[in-house]
Symmetry: C2
Subunit: 205 residues, 2 copies
């Protein structure tokens, strides 16, 4: 089993943090997306969508899409439960994870892809107006997140979950996308310090 990834990209990092939380070790193979290594014919045969991360099982079975890979490991290693427990618990974490994905990570990624000079050859056409339109949405999502984190320790409630992983990766990606964190979001800052510590210092994921 191996995971093909680009270490700097946000989605592979979600998988790495997920695996670290589960205590699962998997071999990683690096492809550099900035060097167009995802657009080769060989990689397109593995994933016609030309994206990482990709999980390749020992029998050659390929699973792509970050959340599909995480769910695969959740099924095989249920503890700690990062997708929640019970019908309502799982629905709540799915809800918050999607709010963080579609409401935060997605908008940060659009700013990065459509504004950063490094993406000029990969995101064609880069549309600056679209990048700018996403910036206020990032700020708006962080405010909604702040309201939630005023009431809960973690994004989806009292337990750490995949929604925290998505939100943390999105916030760190803001640096690369050159989006400043709005000031005055005390609960987001408290949560950010809380969820950043174990990994950025020790495991480096």
């Amino acid at each position: 089993m191996k995971i093909i990834e680009t270490r700097l990209a946000p989605n592979p990092r979600r998988v790495r943090i997920f695996l670290a939380e589960k205590g699962i070790k998997v071999d990683f193979e690096e492809l550099d997306l900035m060097k167009k290594e995802l657009q080769t014919e060989a990689f397109s045969r593995i994933n016609p969508w030309q994206r990482v991360p990709v999980l390749v099982l020992d029998d050659g079975t390929v699973i792509t899409e970050t959340m599909a890979i995480c769910r695969y490991f959740e099924e095989l290693n249920p503890e700690p439960a990062l997708f929640g427990k019970g019908a309502l618990g799982r629905a709540r974490i799915e809800m918050w994870n999607r709010r963080m994905e579609l409401g935060l990570l997605f908008h940060v990624a659009q700013v990065f892809r459509h504004l950063h000079p490094a993406m000029a050859e990969l995101e064609v056409p880069q549309i600056k107006d679209w990048a700018e339109a996403n910036k206020p949405r990032v700020a708006q999502q962080l405010e909604l997140m702040n309201t939630q984190l005023q009431q809960c320790r973690y994004v989806a409630g009292d337990a750490y979950s995949v929604a925290d992983i998505t939100a943390l990766v999105a916030m760190d990606f803001m640096r690369l996308a050159r989006i400043k964190r709005p000031e005055g979001l005390a609960h987001v800052e408290r949560w950010y310090a809380d969820v950043s510590t174990p990994f950025t210092s020790s495991d480096g994921v």
Copy 2:
């Protein structure tokens, strides 16, 4: 229990088809997103993200996000399994559902939101260049889908799943977004006729 929705919108339709496949009856409450009924203070208290569908349980618990709502019903009513069975089966359906969501439905929605005159007041600013940039991606996704449907009866394999629901809703949404279906995708057409029949004619979902 009730579901708040806008009948014409694609995401609520995904939930309706999902429930019809499961044989589950739920009361629906209509809010017209075109009349800005999702932006009222009353609705914002229910869903600060101002989107439908929203599932409201009898005790007032609110679950938003289409896939979170579907997963809630899947947990309580496992048959037929629309999210798959077993670690690999579930991962495969999550993978294909996300490919259909992020690779197809999302791009169709961007074309609709940023080009259709009816959205001028709801999608501010409308960015025509961004809409146009999404059109070739729709065509590209349909080609990848055609390759998959050459090998499998349904989008994620031999069994009907939530990935088919997402893909069907995305394709029907293309009409509203005024995107013509590319010609020559014989396997997509065979699949489309197959999955369209039970609902468009009888249940009307």
